[in-house]
Symmetry: C2
Subunit: 203 residues, 2 copies
């Protein structure tokens, strides 16, 4: 069965998945880049390499929140914003962007097409699974988008690297009590020298 999964959503030891004061210059917030440095280390551990590779494999479609897509707020108007990733985004499949404001789909180089979904998370989920065929749907950020799907019990699995940095503020993954509904459990907690890999799943 194809899964809806969160993969490689990096969290600081104090619980933040993005730093404070997100902006055009710092899309991950102040200090947020430090959550991802372990992925680009020259001496990256075999365990870490395997996790990162697995996060990209078998994915047939993505869902993301508007904040992950870009800094534009409100009506799209004349905005020609096409994501943070240049002319060839690293998705190479259909990407469903949750928004309150309608916009035509945007086809990019390399097989990525951004679709804008205005009728809620369940609609985005159905469209993404239809597009993914027998592959998984990967749920990107931000944290609020992940929590919406999680609270609704729609996420099958979350793979969360816990990174040895302190962000001291920003956006939490686990914000309110009961953001993780009953039925989810910790199914894995292993570490490389650089990072701890936490996996939650609906059991």
């Amino acid at each position: 069965m194809p899964k809806l999964r969160v993969s490689n959503l990096c969290m600081s030891v104090d619980g933040y998945v993005a730093g404070p004061d997100q902006s055009l210059d710092e899309p991950l917030g102040v200090g947020g880049e430090s959550l991802h440095e372990w992925m680009f280390a020259d001496d990256r551990d075999e365990l870490d390499r395997r996790y990162v590779d697995a996060s990209m494999e078998g994915v047939g479609a993505w869902i993301m929140g508007r904040n992950m897509f870009g800094p534009v707020r409100g009506e799209w108007g004349d905005s020609d914003w096409r994501g943070w990733w240049g002319s060839e985004p690293p998705y190479h499949c259909d990407v469903f962007v949750l928004t309150h404001h309608e916009r035509e789909s945007v086809a990019m180089d390399g097989g990525t097409t951004f679709h804008f979904v205005t009728d809620g998370i369940e609609s985005a989920r159905q469209q993404a699974f239809a597009a993914a065929g027998d592959r998984d749907v990967r749920l990107g950020g931000g944290a609020e988008t992940v929590r919406q799907y999680l609270r609704a019990g729609l996420v099958d699995e979350l793979e969360i690297p816990i990174v040895p940095v302190l962000l001291r503020g920003g956006e939490r993954l686990f914000e309110a009590p009961d953001d993780v509904p009953p039925g989810y459990e910790v199914v894995e907690l292993v570490s490389s020298p650089a990072v701890v890999h936490l996996r939650l799943a609906k059991v």
Copy 2:
């Protein structure tokens, strides 16, 4: 130099060091006991054993908040509450309990004496270091007590096992942005099969 240190303060993967609804029956809150089960496992890992042993070694005095000492609130009055730990508590040294209400010291079996400090965290720190001699002072819970010392920059080191359970609510260690002031860093993050050991220190 003797240190003020937090040792073996267990945290769930969603960031809680005690469960919700603490009470006389459940001093660690609902589900809080699950944070400590790894310590009593028959097949406890060598790494875990070493960490737990180290947490008890070289400690010459303790500081704890009133909530860790007991459920009594307000004036002590006729209360004969002597802690959760029976007639011979596991401290075997002077224990300084932070409270707003004066009370005579209480000597227990096995060398533990509870002292009640009403003039603040800095006073408790000085008294504890004087009592500890050349040994460390260990700072117990609850989380609010730890945060008070941490925000004041008075904690030298924190050793926090991250336990593969979800508590979904309760008392966070890292509650507000800036609970961990500048100057603290992650100095260790290693895992056994059962638990991840996180160590923060003032560097």
